[in-house]
Amino acid sequence: MRSLFTPLHWLVWRDPKRRAENLLRFAEVEADGGRDLVRAAEVTGDPVLRRLFLKHALDEQRHADLFRGRGEALIRALPSGSSGIQANWMAPGERGLDDLQVEAEGDEALLAFLHLSEKAAAKDFTNYVAVLGDDPPTRDVFKKVLHDETFHMTYTRAQLQRVAPQRAGRRVWVARLRRFWKAYLRLAAALAGLVGGVVLTLQYFLILPVFALAARRAAKAEPPGFSSVAPERNGPLTGQY
């Protein structure tokens, strides 16, 4: 299946290093999504949904394993020293399912959200399969995942019809609007981050050098080893300093 973006996908997936990084990122997203689905299973009062969410969570975990396994295999196949991917120095706590607050969602909203997410993922993965002809193992990973995504897309829609027969369509539309809103927020946050980074960098080089000099001199004056704790430090708790 070819889409307007096929050449772009082909470019993105062409480089083995970027391919590996994408797969490892997908693994994280799937694993986080799985944890969110576990949470959804734990908080829902609907036994049918609980069983389906748990099954869905297991699928996501299996997808994470598939993506991670293939990503790591690609990294190992890279020429030595070219991976440029560093050992883990990231703080834990990445989030899955698009920063979804599972506890704050009702079953209906969650099903609508999941339906759209799975639909979008299925579409993307179909495109990736189309451009990965020269890498059959990676293509097979996407095919396996795609098979499950189709089931997830179907069951979420069917369950939404079951729990909200009159409101299913509206729920999907609301979820769609929320996805747009979140996409806008992500874009705005990225833009704000970029502007903030530029401003802080300018401050760093234009305003801070004098203070940096003073700070470095002060650091040299600090003796190594123990420092005594001033008695007033054991005093009242009212200050933030």
């Binding site: 944890r35 190992r76 050992a87 960098t201 700070a215 190594p224 080893g225 708790l237 300093y241």
Partner: protein, 589 residues
């Protein structure tokens, strides 16, 4: 007096509530939000603490935050300035990170809880650690040592605490080692170098160390040097954690120790490379122990005290703790069940109560169970909805039945009473198994915990029988109360206790007093009657990447997604029909 303690914004945020000097509730935010190591402002934990006591925020007399945010900000800014001009990225990252939320703690507390400004107090980070260690321990006077990555500026403090029954309390910090010279950061840097997640993988380094020989110890001593006054300083040319957001070690570090391990590469101890990583782990562990033993020995000589209380994340290193107990000269070593930042919520509240407000000393209940309760009725409801048979048994029948399960090598999810505060399952949210076979350990690793083979599982044994199986020095039973020490398994028991004996013949044992967890104590005793070995394997009730379960629904979902055979919550018991790798798929088919 009603005092709420809060820790947040770095890792393991938590809330703790004291009423008239005694704790009534304490829980980590991760147990509520289900995000491991959740560092967010612990609103859910606060709400639960207040609800469980029937309080509204306006009923509180004080809200105490566990560190001084502006002092911490000063350290972050100064560090960025000192590394000029190479620290640009670290500066941008630090400013975004701090200015977004972390420096506005007073305002956040006021806004979220609606309490007045004068009710919001701040302890220093290491004061909180010191209070959590000293004021929860059954001692009247003790030396105190706290050590972690960093608080505001301090990374290690020494001091002393005094309590007068019904009277005044003092905790005095005397000296400190300041950032960037830090034992916690040293260990974390090696954790990252060995390819494990920082603040999470330090246990793995300790477990891996047992497989190695410390042939890199001299190299480690090059990156951390002792100072003339008995402290230490890092050779900063080997580190980048103070200048970089992406790396904690420098090229000089790599030149010294060789290439780092990539997180996705398995550690194969049959290869030279795998053994190199194990040897590096053994080396940093040895040097850490040497420094801690040396410092605590000096502290004992200086204070002449019998007791030592330790706090901070480094106090989770059970191997080092056992050496400190054996070699420092202190007769007793107290490590609280939550020595890390989560316990600081409790420590901050206790410090405010006893020291700031000068309320009279009260003995602290000697257990870690301050979280939400497990509700058996909830398990019965969920299981029935899913078509599983539920047995509701009285205590005696349940204990007998569960002991039979364990003797038949079934793996049991055990939820009993209130959830623990801290990273260790101490009998309220545990996965229990027979300790007698290496196959059980392998099955736990493969089907439930999904973790590396070099990580050991811990045993739990009745305190009165602990010395029959383990070589415990004087004070060892106390240190093992909250699983805070690693001790040798007696040679004659090592083969039988195969599932809980580490490769070096040691175990991170929990010595359980009946008064702390009576039902678990009874269960171990009943299991002992069946098998002749009153010891169980006790590991935390969670899957990889998830926090320890809190409520029954979470225990149930873990049971359904893993190879756990039996789930017990209070008096309710459910079991899978057949032993399966993942029960859910089988049951639903």
């Amino acid at each position: 007096m009603k005092i709420l303690g809060i820790s947040a914004h770095y890792h393991d945020s938590a809330a703790a509530l004291l009423i008239d000097g005694l704790p009534v509730a304490a829980v980590q935010e991760e147990r509520m939000s289900r995000r491991k190591n959740d560092a967010a402002f612990p609103l859910a934990a606060i709400e639960w603490c207040l609800d469980s006591a029937g309080l509204e925020p306006e009923d509180l007399d004080a809200v105490v935050f566990y560190e001084r945010p502006m002092l911490k900000f000063e350290r972050i800014l100064t560090t960025a300035l000192r590394s000029f001009p190479v620290g640009r990225k670290a500066f941008v990252h630090a400013m975004r990170n701090s200015l977004g939320e972390k420096v506005w703690v007073r305002g956040i507390i006021q806004a979220q809880l609606g309490v007045s400004r004068r009710k919001v107090l701040f302890t220093e980070h290491h004061q909180s650690h010191a209070a959590a260690a000293f004021l929860t321990a059954p001692t009247k006077e003790a030396a105190v040592l706290t050590t972690d990555g960093v608080g505001e500026w301090a990374t290690l403090t020494v001091g002393r605490g005094r309590r007068t029954p019904g009277g005044a309390t003092s905790i005095e910090l005397l000296r400190e080692v300041r950032w960037p010279h830090s034992l916690g950061m040293l260990y974390s840097t090696f954790t990252a170098f060995l390819g494990f997640a920082v603040n999470e993988g330090e246990y793995k380094v300790m477990g891996l160390a047992a497989y190695g020989t410390p042939r890199f110890a001299d190299a480690v001593r090059k990156v951390i040097r002792r100072t003339a006054d008995g402290a230490f300083s890092l050779e900063l040319g080997y580190f980048e954690f103070h200048t970089s957001v992406a790396r904690s070690f420098s090229q000089a570090f790599v030149d010294l120790f060789g290439p780092p391990r990539a997180s996705w590469d398995p550690i194969d101890l049959a290869t030279d490379e795998g053994r190199r990583f194990a040897d590096i782990a053994a080396s940093v562990q040895l040097v850490l122990e040497e420094i801690l033993v040396d410092m605590t020995r000096a502290l004992q000589r200086e204070t002449g005290l019998r007791d030592l209380c330790m706090g901070g994340g480094v106090a989770l290193n059970g191997v080092a703790n056992a050496r400190i107990l054996a070699e420092s000269g202190f007769e007793r070593l107290f490590v609280p069940p939550a020595p890390g930042d989560a316990g600081c919520a409790l420590g901050a509240a206790l410090y405010a109560d006893r020291v700031h407000f000068g309320n009279p000393d009260r003995d602290f209940p000697d257990h870690p169970f301050w979280g939400p309760m497990a509700e058996p009725a909830e398990l019965a409801r969920i299981a029935r909805e899913d078509g599983l048979a539920v047995e509701t048994l009285d205590d005696a029948a349940l204990i007998a039945r569960t002991a039979e399960d364990l003797a038949a090598d079934r793996i049991v999810g055990w939820m009993d009473g209130a959830c623990e505060l801290g990273p260790r399952a101490l009998g309220a949210r545990s996965i229990l198994a027979a300790p007698l076979s290496a196959q059980t350990r392998d099955r736990l690793n493969r089907d439930i915990k999904y973790r590396e083979e070099f990580r050991p599982f811990a045993p739990v044994v009745p305190a009165e029988l602990a010395e029959r199986f383990f070589v415990l020095p004087p004070g060892g039973v106390r240190l093992a109360r909250f699983m805070s020490g690693v001790f040798p398994v007696r040679p004659e028991w090592r083969a039988r206790l195969a599932a809980v004996t580490h490769v070096d013949g040691t175990a991170r044992v929990q010595a359980l007093e009946r008064s702390m967890a009576p039902r678990l104590h009874e269960l171990i005793t009943a299991y002992g009657k069946l098998t002749g070995v009153p010891v169980l394997l006790n590991t935390s009730f969670n899957l990889a990447g998830e926090p320890i379960v809190n409520r029954v629904a979470e225990g149930y979902s873990t049971f359904r997604r893993s190879g756990i055979d039996v789930l017990v919550a209070g008096g309710a018991r459910i079991a899978k029909r057949t032993r399966a790798k993942v029960g859910f798929e089988e049951e639903i088919a």
